[in-house]
């Protein structure tokens, strides 16, 4: 493996897996949730490279979480891996249908329409007593690949999250370098030319939308497994806004950026929350302001610049 991105991801994965058993419980769950959310942001990276911003990734984040919960609750299939796979499948199926409509919208219309769909899901869920209405319900995986899990999973769920996130990032990296994936920046720059060169812009946008949904669904599944509880807030527009926030904070320079940025964001938030419980949003706001003013291409651009200079 000569590819730096793939190699770095493999090293990071090995580090997380090795360090995991020695991490305190709070760090373990913080890291797991960061990776879950990082998966969603990874999907946003693909959309942003295609020139699209979705303010509704919460739709698939929430769908993925509910899919995992419903599978465990209603069918008695308590295996973490099966739950995660089901999260991904449900998200892709829904995205394939909604994509038929969304693939023809761009800019603010795409952003608002995706937000609207996520709010429809939110509206439906808070009115559904079978799914616990606005309280949601608990999700617990009892096994992973048939092996019994102790308590809430802890390290096992972190391992699952880390393997999923790294595998997803590597696959996305490969995809972006492929003949089909390399159309993304071309579509962002000039759709007309892509069509006149003989490719279907609509088809490529639809596919990228479905891939982003798959990643968001997996992210929701990971979060459900880690937190052990899900509720409709996961589809609320502020959740989606947070993903966009992290995507801008991280930058779209590399597939590793969303994962690193997401971990950083969760740490920043928990510290902000600890030291200024009433004004933590202000700390995040100030961080965002600084990023936009001094690093418009996101935190990743610091690393990219240093590599170039070396």
């Amino acid at each position: 493996m000569r590819d730096v991105t793939i190699r770095s991801l493999a090293v990071a994965l090995a580090l997380v897996l090795a360090a995991g058993p020695w991490l305190p419980q709070w760090a373990l769950s913080l890291l797991t949730i960061s990776l879950g959310k990082g998966l969603v942001v990874l999907g946003l990276l693909l959309l942003m490279r295609t020139g699209l911003v979705s303010f509704g990734q919460g739709l698939y984040y929430c769908l993925g979480a509910y899919a995992a919960g419903v599978l465990a609750q209603w069918t008695g299939l308590y295996d973490a891996v099966a739950m995660l796979v089901f999260s991904a499948i449900v998200s892709v199926l829904v995205a394939s249908v909604l994509g038929l409509l969304l693939a023809s919208y761009r800019g603010i219309f795409f952003a608002m329409l995706s937000l609207a769909f996520s709010m429809i899901l939110y509206g439906l869920l808070i009115k559904m007593p079978a799914f616990g209405s606005s309280d949601g319900f608990n999700v617990v995986a009892r096994t992973m690949l048939g092996i019994e899990l102790a308590g809430k999973g802890g390290y096992a769920v972190l391992a699952l999250a880390a393997v999923s996130a790294c595998a997803a990032a590597m696959a996305l990296h490969r995809y972006l370098g492929s003949h089909l994936g390399s159309l993304a920046p071309a579509i962002r720059d000039n759709e007309l030319r892509v069509e006149y060169m003989g490719a279907s812009v609509r088809g490529a946008v639809h596919l990228n939308y479905a891939i982003a949904a798959l990643l968001a669904g997996m992210g929701g599944g990971v979060t459900a497994l880690s937190v052990g509880h899900i509720d409709p807030e996961m589809a609320y527009w502020t959740t989606s806004g947070e993903f966009v926030f992290v995507a801008i904070l991280s930058g779209t320079g590399s597939v590793a950026a969303p994962l690193a940025g997401s971990i950083l964001f969760e740490w920043l938030r928990s510290y902000a929350y600890q030291y200024s419980p009433n004004t933590w949003q202000m700390v995040l706001g100030a961080a965002m302001l600084l990023i936009i003013m001094f690093l418009p291409a996101g935190l990743w651009s610091v690393l990219a610049r240093r590599n170039k200079g070396a």
Binding site: P185, A186, L192, S200
Partner: protein
């Protein structure tokens, strides 16, 4: 000789404006045809109908014996009709090399037998892997020294060349050039056309080009179609068409001032 491209009775109206009024023309294989006419005469509308950007109100377009009227632009491209643009349509944030590679990727994917077949390892028409085929185009269009520059930073003449080089990625059978030398300095015009014509002749491409510069038309076209008011008013070799009285009056606009006044009084 049979025509590779045949337009029959093409008509197009935009509200009260007639952009095409029953245009019929057959284009022979391996020829270079110049399309001339004032702004609004219907040249670009003609190009847009052939490439599928506009659907004609009436009439048919046949390419290699197959009707392509109102097909989607990407389907027409896949059949072998490619176009360049009056205002270069590039991927501004990508480098010159990447711009060409996008073309190669699309060509490779379209060359698959079926939806799930493997992408061929060499680009059809080039017989080379994609990066080598792109490098060959860079050399052919003298773009090597701009290889890693973002397209958005290039001077206009180079943007024009890149725009045309990108159409060659698909090895078209018919190439439509929409004002290849507009916006280019007078000294560069012939250099650009020489390069394009050399590339095209080497591959046996049939060329149609829209042009306002009559020197370019006279030098490169084997046949000229003069458009006026949505119709073709003259069709023939450049020396005949460019000497035609109607063409001189309506297209080139060289009518003597007093003759123009006389016409207005009549």
């Amino acid at each position: 000789m049979t025509a590779i491209l045949e337009a029959k009775g093409l008509s197009k109206n935009f509200g009260a404006v007639t952009a095409a009024a029953g245009i019929s023309a057959g284009i022979e294989r391996d020829t270079v045809t110049g399309l001339i006419g004032t702004n609004g005469a219907g040249k670009t509308t003609f190009v847009n109908m052939i490439t599928g950007h506009l659907k004609p109100d009436a009439g048919t377009i046949v390419f290699e014996g197959r009707e392509i009227t109102a097909m989607l632009p990407r389907r027409i491209t896949r059949l072998g009709i490619c176009r360049s643009f009056q205002i270069p349509q590039l991927y501004d944030s990508l480098t010159v090399f990447q711009n060409l590679m996008v073309g190669m990727s699309i060509v490779l994917r379209n060359a698959r037998g079926g939806m799930f077949s493997r992408v061929p390892s060499t680009v059809p028409g080039f017989g080379l892997p994609a990066p080598d085929a792109a490098a060959a185009l860079l050399a052919q269009f003298d773009l090597v020294r701009f290889r890693d520059r973002p397209a958005g930073e290039l001077p206009e003449g180079i943007r024009k060349l890149l725009d045309i080089a990108m159409t060659m990625a698909a090895k078209p059978k018919v190439l439509l050039l929409d004002e290849p030398t507009s916006g280019v300095s007078a000294e560069e015009k012939f250099a650009i056309m020489d390069m394009v014509m050399e590339a095209v002749r080497a591959q046996g491409v049939t060329v149609l080009f829209v042009e306002h510069d009559m020197d370019i038309v006279a030098r490169y076209a084997g046949r000229v179609l003069a458009f006026f008011d949505g119709r073709i008013i003259s069709d023939g070799p450049p020396d005949v068409v460019l000497a035609d009285a109607e063409v001189r009056k309506y297209v080139i606009g060289e009518a003597a001032p007093d003759r123009g006044k006389a016409a207005a009084h009549a």
